[in-house]
Structures are given as C-alpha cells and as structure tokens.
C-alpha cells in the first residue's frame, strides 16, 4: 500500500482506519513480531525482554502517532545506521529467506494496531 511521508512522519493511517491498541499490545509482545527481542517495555508478564534498544515505556510521550508510523515503516529515516528493521519494506533487501521473500515484515493493519498501542504509552 502506498503511503505519504510529511516532515518526519506519516500522518495518515496506512489502512485508512485507526488501529486497535489491544491487538497492538499483543503484537508487540509476540516474539514473531520481533520488537521484544530488542526492546523492553511495561510488560510485567514477559520475562524475556531485550536491551538493545530504548525501553518503550513512554514512547507515546516522545513521539506522535505520525512519527511512530514512519519509524515502524522505515526506521532508517530516523537513523540510517539503525539496527531496527523497517517493518513495511520489501525492496533493497539481501538474500531474504524463501518464506519471507517479497513480503514486508508486518501488514498495514498490524502496523496501525501497533501505532495505536504505542501512542497509549505515556506517563
């Protein structure tokens, strides 16, 4: 799906509708989504969290939904050297495994769910 970058964000929903924060939370916690490999966050039920990246605890204070959406779509826009994968990109990748070739890591609706959840992380 096409998207439009404005400034340092993507202001419009990738699907045209808002995401579901509860589903977003479950996605962030699922290992297969990979966030939790690198990040920690306010997830008392999960013992195994990563420390390669900032804690997500107050991500909603620091970033707007628009910025969070662009970060998930293509984190290299914020830091060209970042190790954070671009979750909505399927070009310019090397030797992608057969089962994953040609697909972005997350679907547009999943990104919207995660954006909705991250926006609730405020203190």
């Amino acid at each position: 799906m096409p998207y439009r970058i404005v400034g340092d964000g993507i202001p419009e929903s990738l699907t045209g509708s808002p995401g579901d924060a509860a589903r977003g939370r479950a996605l962030v916690l699922a290992r297969s989504t990979t966030c939790i490999l690198c990040h920690s966050g306010p997830f008392p039920e999960t013992r195994f969290q990563g420390d390669l990246a900032p804690d997500l605890r107050d991500a909603g204070n620091r970033w707007s939904a628009s910025q969070l959406r662009l970060r998930l779509v293509d984190a290299s826009r914020f830091n060209p050297q970042t190790i954070m994968p671009s979750y909505y990109r399927n070009d310019d990748l090397v030797r992608v495994g057969r089962n994953f070739a040609g697909k972005p890591i997350l679907a547009a609706a999943e990104i919207e769910d995660i954006v909705a959840f991250l926006a609730t992380l405020r203190d």
């Binding site: 390669l52 190790i83 994968p85 992608v96 994953f100």
Partner: protein, 259 residues
C-alpha cells in the same frame, strides 16, 4: 582446573594483523564461555559431566575402525591422534591444493573417507561425522587458534569478512550488528556473545545434542530471516574461515557446552 585458567587468561599478545573499524582487538576477544553462567561452565569443565565427551569417545572408536574398500582405519595412516591431530583443528579451515580452496575439518575428514578409505562420505550433521570431528578437534583443546594465516587463504578470509558485515534477510541485520556492536547485551533475555568459534562441534543445551558450526551459523541466518547457505557451501566455508581468523589466539575448547 588448568583448562579453566587457560580460558580466563585468553588475552593473548599476538602479532595483530590490520584490524578494520569495529573489529574486536586480540586482547578483548572472549569465548562464549565467559558469557555463561556457573552451572554451564561447570558442565563444560568437568569431562564426566560434559555431554560432548560421549561424542568424543564415539569418535575415538571410529578412528580405530577399518572402513571402506581400502579397509583402512584413520589410525592406520595417522597413528595416535593425540600427537598427529594436535593443533590441526586450530588451523582449519585450511587451504586444500587439490580443491584450490579452503576446506573445513568436516570436509577434510570426508576427503580422507572418500579418497583414502574409499568409503562413502558421511552426511553433514550425522552422528559419525560429528563424532570424528569432535574427536579430532578435541586433540587441539587449549591450543590457540591460528586459522587463516596461510597467505593463499587471504581472498577467502576477505570474502568471509564481507559476508559477516553484510546486512541480510528480511530483518536486514549483519552478523556484526549483533556479535560486534552489541555483545554483552541481551536479545530477548539471552546474552549476545562475540560469536567466537572456540568450541565446535559443541553441545548446545537448546539442541540437546552436539552440533556443527554450520548448524549454528545457519540458525543465525534463519534468525534474521535470510536464506541459509547449504552445508558445505563455499560462502559458509569462507564465513567460517573469517570467524576462525577473528578468534585468533583464543584457545580451542572442543567439545564446548553452550546454552
């Protein structure tokens, strides 16, 4: 125990070859052993509790066993492995003149099986190949790694270095992103090590068995959702060679135990 001291004191003053930015200097190289908890270390240190030693014993039996249409045992040509194989694994992969490229220890063993014993090569990751390889590599325990010194290997070491630093897979990560830039950190709770090749083949508690280095490398590739190279692929051999040259000076630990 002597062996434990050897690992703890693995800060070697080696004549360093030119290091590229980000590469770990000799004095800072640490075996995966140093990242483990006390129980796993104790399991590796004590031969009676190290499950890898069962494979070494099987390998010893295979070493003595006549095989193939030449009806020869490894021992018939190589004699006592304690002297003939000491230090060999520490300099593998090594350049093979007939192949014109580096071969791994597993491939070298299979060259002997096919050429000298006239027997069928053992499949990668099979019990017998792992056992022979563990037995041969065990003869190098405590010997500092020197693989990659042969000047003929230079282009292959370079190729392996490029693979190591190349981002790949759907997650778009290079080996260096984890094992050079982020060792000592935790990936979902698991400590990331420097990825040093000191103890292969080794017993991994997660696998519940002994496994080859190639198995380990393939699982890191699958982890970033890249297409893993086939066992024995020249790219995998080059990567192994680079990794061994990068572990230069660290003592061999085969059979190591890892979580």
């Amino acid at each position: 125990m002597k062996f434990r001291r050897a690992i703890a004191a693995a800060a070697f003053a080696v004549a360093s070859s030119a290091l590229l930015a980000g590469e770990i200097p000799p004095g800072a190289r640490r075996s995966g052993y140093s990242f483990m908890g006390p129980e796993t270390r104790a399991m590796q240190d004590d031969d009676t509790s190290n499950p890898g030693m069962l494979f070494v014993l099987d390998g010893q039996a295979l070493w003595m066993k006549k095989s193939g249409s030449a009806d020869k045992a490894c021992a018939d040509c190589h004699g006592d492995a304690r002297s003939s194989m000491k230090g060999v694994a520490a300099r593998y992969p090594a350049f093979d003149r007939t192949q014109g490229r580096p071969v791994t220890l597993d491939q070298r063993i299979n060259l002997c099986r096919a050429g000298h014993q006239q027997a069928t090569p053992l499949p990668y990751e099979s019990h017998d190949l792992l056992a022979l390889s563990a037995f041969v590599a065990h003869q190098s325990r405590e010997v500092p790694i020197t693989a990659g010194d042969d000047p003929q290997l230079k282009p292959f070491v370079e190729q392996g270095r490029d693979f190591f630093n190349q981002r790949e897979g759907q997650l778009n990560l290079s080996c260096a992103n984890c094992h050079e830039d982020n060792f000592d950190k935790r990936l979902a709770g698991a400590p990331i090590t420097q990825g040093q090749l000191t103890g292969y083949p080794l017993y991994r508690l997660e696998w519940q068995t002994l496994g080859s280095l190639e198995r380990r490398l393939r699982s890191c590739m699958t982890g970033v959702r890249a297409q893993a190279y086939d066992y024995g692929a020249p790219e995998l051999v080059a990567l192994e060679l680079y990794l061994m040259s990068r572990a230069r000076g660290l003592p061999m630990e085969t059979p190591a135990v890892r979580p």
